[in-house]
Symmetry: C3
């Protein structure tokens, strides 16, 4: 039974008592810290995106079709050194029409026989100490019939070095018409200061193709109208009599469509909040899962530990026995 070659029993060094504390002290806090960092980074970038999209609204552009007619706009002519001759509402025709030719088409609407306009004198804000004379015409409306407003002026070419007439467009003729004499002066002065001033040259018939863009904000509460015009020119062939040079302008709508632009918030706070909730709750779930998983690992380890403890105890007993056997020898 006994032999002097007998070696002392050895033990597998797998078992470490620190396992349990390690998980509690390091792994779990590290995990929660990592999840927290992920959540914070996510929240930061999501909130940054929301702030960015609130500060930088994007534009939704819709093409709106006008039925039959546009609401009447106002056309402010500042004739200065030129003389007003006549105006006419006409239908679309070729660029060299016969003025005597009656309008043949668009019979369902009758064009007004005479132009509607007001003469207004106002104090210029762009020029100092100048009272300007303006003629404010009601613009064409019947886009379906290609209604156009023809204005004829003449200018004395010998008295001026060069000649052109300025004009300004505004969007609400009906509002202007409802104003009192004095209010109209102020209205025109502010138009002169803030609106684009266009010109048309002497010696030409200028075709002004008008279009506009209506801009509104996110809640569609305010409206702002921007005009956009395309000029086309037809040359007058007759040089004018007695140094009086003719100049004409024809205002017409470009087409029956206008742009309606609305500011849109691409990422709303609501949707971002939902995203953040989704991520946070996922991380909470992930945290719960990890804790459960760690507990399971720990339990397995504890079982192993108990098993190892038994083995250890048995080993110690064996060791004792071995030592006693050695002593007895």
């Amino acid at each position: 039974e006994d032999s002097s070659d007998e070696e002392p029993p050895t033990m597998n060094p797998v078992y470490r008592r620190s396992g349990k504390d390690l998980a509690k002290l390091i792994l779990l806090p590290t995990l929660y810290f990592a999840l927290m960092i992920v959540a914070c980074v996510f929240a930061f970038y999501t909130i940054e995106g929301v702030v960015l999209s609130y500060n930088n609204k994007v534009q939704s552009v819709q093409l709106v079709e006008v039925k039959d007619r546009y609401p009447p706009i106002g056309i402010v002519i500042l004739p200065q050194f030129s003389n007003y001759s006549f105006c006419q509402y006409r239908y679309y025709d070729d660029v060299s029409p016969d003025p005597e030719k009656p309008p043949e088409r668009c019979n369902k609407y009758k064009l007004p026989e005479t132009c509607t306009y007001f003469n207004v004198s106002f104090n210029s804000t762009a020029l100092v100490n100048v009272t300007r004379f303006a003629m404010v015409f009601k613009g064409p409306t019947l886009v379906d019939c290609k209604e156009s407003l023809l204005l004829h002026f003449s200018i004395n070419t010998t008295s001026r070095q060069f000649s052109a007439v300025e004009y300004i467009l505004f969007e609400n003729w009906n509002y202007f018409e409802s104003l009192k004499e004095n209010e109209r002066k102020g209205f025109l002065a502010s138009l002169e200061q803030y609106r684009d001033i266009y010109t048309f040259p002497a010696g030409f018939r200028t075709w002004v193709k008008m279009s506009y863009t209506i801009r509104t904000d996110y809640r569609a509460t305010t409206n702002k109208t921007d005009f956009n015009i395309i000029d086309n020119y037809a040359s007058f062939n007759d040089p004018g009599l007695d140094g009086m040079y003719p100049m004409e302008v024809v205002f017409e709508w470009k087409d029956r469509y206008y742009d309606y632009v609305r500011d849109i918030i691409s990422t709303t706070a609501w949707s971002a909040f939902g995203s953040i909730c989704g991520v946070f709750i996922t991380l909470v779930k992930a945290g719960e899962f990890c804790r459960m998983w760690m507990r399971r690992i720990r339990r397995d380890k504890e079982k192993k530990m108990l098993h190892l403890k038994k083995l250890e105890e048995e080993h110690e007993k064996e060791l004792e026995a071995y030592k006693e056997r050695q002593k007895e020898k």
Copy 2:
């Protein structure tokens, strides 16, 4: 032991039996109701945002570079009272070029010797009972070499009051070329009705710098081409012979870039659905947490209650004892 100064035992009035029922009857329903309202408000605004973004698509604008050449476009000239003289494909040169000068550059491509064009007569839809004569030219393509199409017309300045020539651009020359004679008439009539008609004046060489914008929808299934032109004018110095005034137009591409516009839904239903899910599940979790928390409070209260009940019973016993002691007196 006994004394007549003895007062009856009193009791702390903290303990209320209604605690348990209060939580069950008022607090929890209130909580759930509040969470439900939060969820509904959130869902409402998120869904509103989705509806808004589906109704107001935003535009993604990309600058697309053309390699070497654009696909050929069509240029419809409506010469009316002017006479067509000649046309030429040319390379870019300065604005007052020598017509005899051969193109020196862009040797890798050979310009066609002759212009490609069709004469078409069609029934006008804009003018009543008028047959219009149109010349449809193949537009320039080699943007890299600044290829341009020069058209020369002359007009009798004594017969007309003023003179200009109309033109229309369309995007697909190859499609037009493939049409039959009759289909071409209909195609031009519809162009005249729906497209922008531009003009160039007599007495000038008009430089038309063309660019276009291709618009497409969310799924990129349909295409719509909008032209945008910039006119520049050079004055003819010679007055024209025998009352025949020259007029020229040069069509060229503005540059090798065009805009590609795509309608984008900024907040898709999918992403909004995810947001709503995130919020709802968070509220569910919050509800669970609150219920758990309340249960713990209630349990604590019940413990307290038991403790108080004991105190109460002891107090009653003491009270009984006290009364008996008083009776004995």
Copy 3:
């Protein structure tokens, strides 16, 4: 007790032993599979939306107001066959101003007496073997006072068929001024190649109303300036002396606003990730709930089953009894 009419006891056939296995083998896997498909479809469309919004950035357009003055831009004039006469910085006036009239307004700023410009000759890239002569002017800055730059040229109308002058705009005069002689040549050559070249015609005063758009990317790191000009023409009335025709150009700012365009990603990966998390966690919760619900149904079924088993056993006993009774008969 016994009768020959007695029928054998029957049993309700509700109870099927397969119930438990059915749920485990078919219902739950089907449910999980369905949830997984929902999750995948959702994730696919959400990720598709993100990819789409990264590839198709949308534009945020802001109107930025300039205080007092724009930074100076550069105006490159390529006079070619025309002769430069003079230039002037002026304030806004009507289109036919008196050159002797001193500027009366905008007293807080003094306009420079003389124009700032450089003469540069460079090798053209658009034309072969041509050295072009350019005059580079410092543009107007005081938008508040409507400062404008007037340039006067004259051109020999007998030597050329038609006449116009080309010009190019660039955004950073200060950068150009800081360049060395040679670098300026290269700078202009690259402008001629890549920028829009505009022209103004002889015989007119051309009013060039300038505006620009600054484009930047999502992170606002790069800037790109696009010019947009509106031409207005005023005709010269005097025919010019000795065949020298006058031509003028006036550069001025359209208004004190410019567009600032920023590319925006409408659906960021962050927000989409949150959405996906929200949906997944909801589906996980739904799965848990369904499993719980099925377990409850199963438990109910098991109770019913036990009850039915008892009934069955009783029935069998009765059946045995019945059979024995029949046998006894």
